[in-house]
Symmetry: C2
C-alpha cells in the first residue's frame, strides 16, 4: 500500500502556517493546531464557532466510568469501561461588530492566516472581516496554555476597524454543556457550592472529580456577568475607534480536585504578554536541550519539531496520575487511553530528555499494580496483567479479543523497568518498585503459558500484529515473555538478602518461583526456519498469501472497509511482530537474521498502525536499506501534518510523534542502548546537509552534530563514555570530531 | 467429567409423575411439565403463582427485534438481533376458599401430585389444601393444549370440600403484563381495537404481530368481567357444597396475525373433556406410528417417550414460519432461536416419521435464502450464509466469533437438502428450491475459503468444537465444505438443460462455477496422521493437553466457571468435531479410521454441548463399544428428566430429545441411510428384553422389533427393500424374522 501525503500547511522550520481557510481541512487543522500542557489540552477550534468542528477541551486525568454490558457475560470480560471526558469550553467568544455576529461559515473575510509558533506555543488566527455594516475590521485571536502555570488558559482578541468607528459586543464564556460525542451525553453536574460571580464548579458524575473554572477578563467597555445552566459569561460592549488596535484578554483558570481533595484558591488574572514571556522562556529551555535539527530538508525539520512540540506539550511528568493518551489531549478518539505505546515508543524520548518524567511514567504503572493484579485474577491468572487501554489503571478495553489475549502491555512494562533502570542507574527503584512489578508480571506470564511436548509457550494470544488472533506461540509474545521471566529472575537474584526478604513478605514470593520462571524461559518455543526466518506464530507459513499491493488504496483503513473476520485469514500483517522483537532487542539477533526477517515480513505489512513505519525505518537503516529507511521516516515524521492515515481529523497520533524522535536517533543517529554503553553510528539521509540532536544521559547533555565532514560530539556535565562507529570515546565539554562513516 | 443424574421424578413408562413438592426442584419441574403444540407453549407453572418460577407462555414465530450495539462497529458485525417474546399468561387463576388465597408457598397442603400423561398430553396437579377457615379442600388443576385446534389452551379446576361448605372466589385472567426477563421489559401494546368484553388484543412493538386472546369460561357462580391494563379477568363467586366435586373450566383462544393479515373470528368455547378426547385420539395416532419401546429398562422407556412427546409437541410442520428452537417453547433461554441442530439432529426424526414436517423445515430455510444472501454480502462473501441462531431467517447471534466464523449452519442446510431428497425422492424440490440453495451455499463456501501451496481450505473458522476459535483447516469445516461443493456441482450437472437454464437465470449462475467448486473440493486440505487420526485443525496436535478428568465437577459448565479465553488454550473439546463428520458421513471412513479417531478424541471431550453424548454413543455402538454407547445414551435419553446438565430449569433441550431418537435408531437399531438402501443392524443393550421402533419410509411404515430370539420386521404399505446385518430383504406386511446378531 502506498501512503500518500495530503500536503496542506506551508513549510516553515519554526512554525505551522495555514494560509487561507479550506473547510474540507477544517478538522485536520483543528487537530494540528491543538495546544496542551499536560494539565489540559484544547483543539484548535474557532473561538466563535461555525463550520465543521470537534470542539473540545480535555483535562489530564479527568474521566468518567461507564458500565459495559458485554455481548455475553463470560468470566474475564470487561464490564466497566472509562473514558476521558470533554471538559467545559474555556475559549468561547461571541463577537458582533456593527450588529453582525462573527461566523466564518457565513461572514465575508479574507487574508485568513493561522500560525502556531513552535518556539513559544503561541497560536494566532487573523483575518480581515468585511462586515456588513461597519466596514473592514482586522481580527486577531491569540491563545496559549501556561507551561509554567498549567492551570491557566489565556486568550487575547485584538480588533482594528479600518474604515470607521464600529460598535462591538463581545462575550467570553465558559460553557460546561459540552457533549461527549461518543456517548452523546454531557454528564457534568454543577456542585451547587456558593461561588464567586466569575466561577463555575462542575463535577463528574461517576468519578466525583471537581473542576473549578474561573473567568478572568480584562478589556474595554462595561462588564456584564451572567450565569446560566453550567455556563458563566462576561460581556463587554464598546465602540471600536477607527484605526486603533483594541484588545481584550481573558484567562480561564482551570483547577481540579479529586475526591477527598480541596480546591486551592482561584488564581488572579495574568496578562497575556506576561504568560507569553513565561512560555517563551520555558520553550527556549526545552528547545535548547531537546531540539533535533535537520538542515537540507525543511519539511522533515518542521515535522520533527512539531512532533517534539506536541510530545512535550502532552506529557512532561507534572502529575503521576497522567500518562500519554494515544491521541494525547487532542480528541476523544481512543477515549484518552494510554496503551503499551507509552513504554514501547514514548519512554525512550523521556529517558534521554527528562528522567523525572520517565520515572513518573513508571510510577504510573506501579500505582496501577493493584488493578493489574485484579485483572489477572479476573482471568484466572496469577500476578499482574496490565491493561490494553487505560486511564486509571483498570482495563478499559471492552474487546475481549484484545483485553484477554494481548500480553504485550505487561511485557512492555517489564521492558520499561529494565531499560529505565539501566539507563538511569536508579537502582533504588529497581530493587523496590521495579522488582515488585517484575515479579508480578512474571507470575502472570508463567500462569498464562502452557507446557507441551515441545516446551513452554503461549496459546490463544494476539501479538502486536493484530491481524492474527487466537494464535499459538506468537514469536513476539514468546520472546518478550522469555525476556520478562529472565529479567524477573535476575532481578530477584541480584537483591540483597534483606531486600529479598522484604519483597518475599510483600508479595508472598516463594523461593522456588524464580527457578520456575527460568525453566519456562529456557524452554520457550521459537519456530525458526533454516534460513533464519522466524515463523510469526504456529501455522503462519501455511496461511494463504495476500499480495498487499493488490489491495486498492480506497480499501484502507481495512477495518472500515473489510468485514472484520476477513482481515484475519491471510499472511498480511497489520504491524510488525517478529521485527518488533528484533527492534526492541537487537542484541539477541544477528544482522543476517534481522535481514532475513525484514526481507520476509516487510512486504507483508500494511502499516495499519501509525507506529509501524518507524520500526521498519529503524531496522531498514541498520540493514543499510537507507533509501527505504528515509522513505518510511517520511511517513512517521509528518504523519499528522500530512495526514497520511487520513484520520488526523480525530486528533494527533502522540505515540507516533514519539516514534519519530526514536527513528531520528536510532535510525539516523544509530543510537543503541541495549548494552552497558551507549552506541552511536550516525549517517545523513539523502539531501540532508546537517543533522543534530541531544541526549540527556545521567545528568549530562550530549550534543551530536552530523555533517558531511564529520561527526561532532560534545557533552555538558560529566563526561560520557560511548562508542561511535564502534570506537570507544570519552566525550566531555570539548567537542570531539570524527569522520562520518558510511 | 462424570455427568450425574439428579433423579426426582418417579419412573413410569407412560407418565411423568412428581409426588410431593420440593421447591428446590420447582424450576426443573416447571420445565419438565411444559406443554406445547407448535402454535404455542406453556411452562408447567402453578396457575395461582407462588414460589420460584419462570412463568412463561410462548407463541411460535412471535418475536421482537432489538438493535444491538456491538463493542465496536466493525463491518460484518450483527447490529440487530431478535428474540422470542414472552406472551400473555393464559393460565392465571386466583382462587380463594373461605377467604384464604391459594398460594402453595404460604398455605398448608399435602398429597401434592403432578402427572403428565404422555398418551394424552394431559397435565394434572392435585393436592389436599388444609384451609385456615374452611377445612380440607381437594384441589385439582388440569390443562392441555389443543393438538387438533392449536389455538386453544384449556384449563379445568376441580374442587371438593371435605369437611364443610365453603365460600369460593375464583378468577381466570389473561395477563399481558408479562416481562421478557432477559430484557426486563414488557413490550406488548394494546391495539386499541373495539373488542368483545372477553377479548384482549396485544401487538408486538417492533414486528407488529397481533395476538388476540379470547377468554371463555364455564362454571358455577355469577360471572363478573373486568378489563385492566393489558389484562382481562372473569371472576366467579359460589358456595362449594361439602363432598361434591365442582369444576370450572376455561379455554383461552390465542390467535395470531402477522402484519397485513386479518384475524379470524374468535372461536367458541370447547369443553375440556371434548378437547381431551380429541387430544387422546391425536396422540394415539402418533404413538401408534412413532413409539419406541424398551422393555427391561423403565427409565429409558420413560426417557425416550418423554423425548418423543416433547419433540412432537414442539414441531410437526404446522406452519413453515416455525422451526425448532433449542429450548422449543419451554423457556426464554436461547431466545427461541433455531440452530444448525435442526438440520443435524432433528431432521432425521421427521424424515422417518413425517415427511411433510421435514419438508417444512427445508422450506423454512428456502424462505430464508434472501436473508442468508444479505448476511454473506455483509461479510464480503458471495452466495448465502445461513445464520447461527435465528427465528426470522436473519442472524440473531451477536457474538461475532460465532456468527462470522461458523460455517456449519450453511453446510448443514446443504446436508439436509441432500438427505431429504434422497430419502423422500422429492426430486422436484431438489431441482428447484434445493438446487438454488445448494448453489448459493456453494458460492458462499468457495468465497469463504482460500488457496495456498497445500490446496484449498478455510482460515479463521470455528467448527462444531467451539473450544477452538479462529482456527485453520478445521477438519469438520473442510470436510463438510467439500461435501457441499461436490453436492452442488453434482446437482447442477444432473439438471436437465431447461432446468439448468432457469436456475442460471434466477441466480446468474455462470457455467464455470460448478467446475470451480469441484476444483476446490478436490484440493481440500485434510491433515491425517499415519495412524489414521485426523488433526482437528492445524496445530491441534501441538496444543497443551488438559486431562479433563482432573477438572473438578464443580467447575462445570466451564463457561460459567472459567475465564472465557482460558477455555481456548488446550486440546480439550467442547463437543466432537472430527467425530461429527464421521457420524454424518460414515460411508467416507473406514471402521479403522473411525476407531482410531474415536479413541483419540473421545477422552478429550467434555460434552459441554448436550448433543455430544449422542454422537459418541452412535459411533461407540458401531465400534462395538456397547457398554460405553449405552452409558452415553443414558445421558442423552434422560438429559432433562434427570437434569444432567443442571440447566433444565431454563427449559428443555429439544434437539437433544431428537438426538435421543437418533441414538435409539442409529446406535441400537444400527440404522444407516447414507447410501441408496436403508441398513439396519439392531442389538440389545444390557438389561433390555425387547426394543422396538418404527420408520416411515416413502409412505410405508416399517416396524422393527428386536428381542433376544430375533429381529422381526414388518411393513405397512408398499414393501421396503433394506439390508439387515448386510442381508438384503424385501419387507412387506407379513412379518419377517431373522436371528439377532452380535
Amino acid at each position: 500500500m502506498a501512503k500518500s501525503a495530503d500536503r496542506y500547511f506551508l513549510p516553515d522550520t519554526q512554525k505551522i502556517v495555514e494560509k487561507g481557510f479550506d473547510p474540507e481541512h477544517a478538522l485536520v487543522s483543528e487537530s494540528i493546531f491543538s495546544l496542551a500542557n499536560e494539565h489540559m489540552g484544547v483543539r484548535g477550534y474557532f473561538e466563535e464557532g461555525g463550520g465543521p468542528s470537534l470542539r473540545g477541551c480535555y483535562l489530564g486525568g479527568v474521566y468518567e466510568t461507564a458500565p459495559h454490558r458485554p455481548e455475553s457475560e463470560y468470566r474475564g470480560f470487561v464490564d466497566r469501561t472509562h473514558y476521558m471526558v470533554t471538559a467545559a469550553d474555556c475559549l468561547r467568544v461571541t463577537l458582533a461588530v456593527g450588529g453582525e455576529k462573527l461566523d466564518l461559515s457565513a461572514c465575508a473575510f479574507r487574508d485568513f492566516t493561522r500560525v502556531l509558533e513552535l518556539r513559544t506555543g503561541l497560536l494566532t488566527r487573523s483575518f480581515l472581516w468585511q462586515t456588513r455594516n461597519a466596514g473592514r475590521v482586522e481580527v486577531r485571536f491569540e491563545r496559549l496554555l501556561g507551561m509554567e502555570r498549567p492551570e491557566l488558559l489565556a486568550q487575547r482578541l485584538t480588533l482594528c476597524a479600518l474604515d470607521r468607528d464600529a460598535e462591538v459586543t463581545l462575550a467570553f464564556a465558559v460553557d460546561g454543556n459540552m457533549v461527549h460525542s461518543a456517548t452523546g451525553q454531557c454528564l457534568w453536574n454543577e456542585t451547587g457550592e456558593r461561588l464567586a460571580e466569575n466561577a463555575l464548579e462542575l463535577r463528574t458524575a461517576t468519578t466525583g472529580i471537581t473542576v473549578r473554572y474561573t473567568l478572568l477578563v480584562a478589556g474595554p467597555g462595561e462588564k456584564t456577568r451572567e450565569r446560566g445552566f453550567r455556563t458563566i459569561t462576561e460581556s463587554r460592549r464598546f465602540t471600536l475607534a477607527k484605526g486603533k488596535e483594541t484588545a481584550a484578554e481573558r484567562v480561564t483558570a482551570v483547577q481540579v480536585a479529586y475526591p477527598g481533595e480541596a480546591l486551592a484558591p482561584s488564581p488572579a488574572f495574568a496578562a497575556f504578554d506576561a504568560l507569553l514571556a513565561e512560555n517563551t522562556r520555558h520553550w527556549r529551555a526545552f528547545w535548547d536541550a531537546c531540539d533535533v535539527t535537520v538542515e537540507g530538508d525543511a519539511e522533515q525539520q518542521q515535522g520533527i519539531r512539531y512532533c517534539l512540540f506536541q510530545l512535550h506539550s502532552t506529557y512532561r511528568g507534572l502529575d503521576a496520575r497522567n500518562n500519554i493518551g494515544a491521541k494525547g489531549l487532542t480528541g476523544e478518539a481512543y477515549s484518552g487511553h494510554a496503551f503499551w505505546d507509552t513504554e514501547t515508543y514514548c519512554l525512550p524520548f523521556y529517558l534521554f530528555s527528562d528522567t523525572k518524567a520517565a520515572r513518573n511514567l513508571l510510577m504510573y504503572r506501579y500505582r496501577a499494580l493493584p488493578m493489574a493484579r485484579e485483572r489477572a485474577a479476573a482471568m484466572d491468572l496469577a500476578g499482574a496483567c496490565y491493561p490494553v487501554a487505560t486511564l486509571d489503571g483498570t482495563e478499559a478495553c471492552t474487546l475481549w479479543q484484545h483485553s484477554s489475549l494481548q500480553m504485550q502491555p505487561s511485557t512492555a512494562v517489564a521492558y520499561a523497568v529494565e531499560t529505565y533502570a539501566r539507563l538511569t542507574g536508579d537502582e533504588a527503584f529497581l530493587r523496590r518498585e521495579g522488582a515488585e512489578m517484575l515479579c508480578e508480571i512474571a507470575r502472570y506470564v508463567l500462569s498464562r503459558g502452557e507446557w507441551n511436548q515441545h516446551g513452554f509457550g503461549f496459546y490463544g494470544v494476539m501479538g502486536p500484529d493484530e491481524f492474527h488472533m487466537m494464535v499459538s506461540n506468537d514469536f513476539y509474545t514468546n520472546f518478550m515473555g522469555k525476556k520478562t521471566l529472565l529479567q524477573a529472575a535476575d532481578t530477584v537474584e541480584r537483591l540483597a538478602g534483606s531486600e529479598r526478604a522484604a519483597l518475599a513478605r510483600k508479595i508472598a514470593l516463594k523461593p522456588e518461583e524464580p527457578a520456575a520462571w527460568r525453566r519456562a524461559a529456557e524452554k520457550m518455543i521459537f519456530l525458526r526456519r533454516a534460513d533464519g526466518v522466524y515463523e510469526q506464530h504456529e501455522g503462519y507459513f501455511n496461511l494463504p498469501h495476500t499480495n498487499i499491493r493488490d489491495i486498492p488504496a480506497t480499501e484502507f483503513p481495512l477495518y472500515e472497509h473489510w468485514s472484520y473476520d476477513r482481515i484475519y485469514r491471510s499472511d498480511m500483517l497489520k504491524q510488525p511482530d517478529v521485527l518488533m522483537a528484533m527492534y526492541l532487542h537487537p542484541e539477541d539477533f544477528s544482522a543476517e537474521e534481522i535481514a532475513a526477517n525484514y526481507a520476509y515480513y516487510e512486504p507483508r505489512c500494511v502499516h495499519e498502525s501509525s507506529l509501524s513505519p518507524s520500526v521498519h525505518a529503524i531496522l531498514a537503516g541498520a540493514l543499510g536499506r537507507r533509501g527505504e529507511a528515509a522513505r518510511l521516516f517520511g511517513f512517521a515524521v509528518r504523519l499528522d501534518l500530512d495526514n497520511y492515515n487520513r484520520n488526523t481529523c480525530e486528533g494527533l497520533h502522540l505515540s507516533s510523534a514519539a516514534a519519530a524522535w526514536v527513528t531520528m536517533t536510532e535510525c539516523f543517529g544509530g543510537l543503541r542502548f541495549d548494552g552497558d554503553t551507549l552506541r552511536l553510528a550516525p549517517w545523513l539521509a539523502e539531501g540532508w546537509k546537517r543533522f543534530g540532536f541531544s541526549l540527556r544521559v545521567r545528568g549530562s547533555l550530549l550534543r551530536v552534530s552530523v555533517q558531511t565532514g564529520g561527526v561532532t560530539l560534545a557533552c555538558g556535565g560529566k563526561p560520557i563514555v560511548l562508542t561511535l562507529y564502534g570506537e570507544t570515546l570519552t566525550v566531555g565539554e570539548t567537542p570531539v570530531t570524527r569522520p562520518k562513516e558510511g
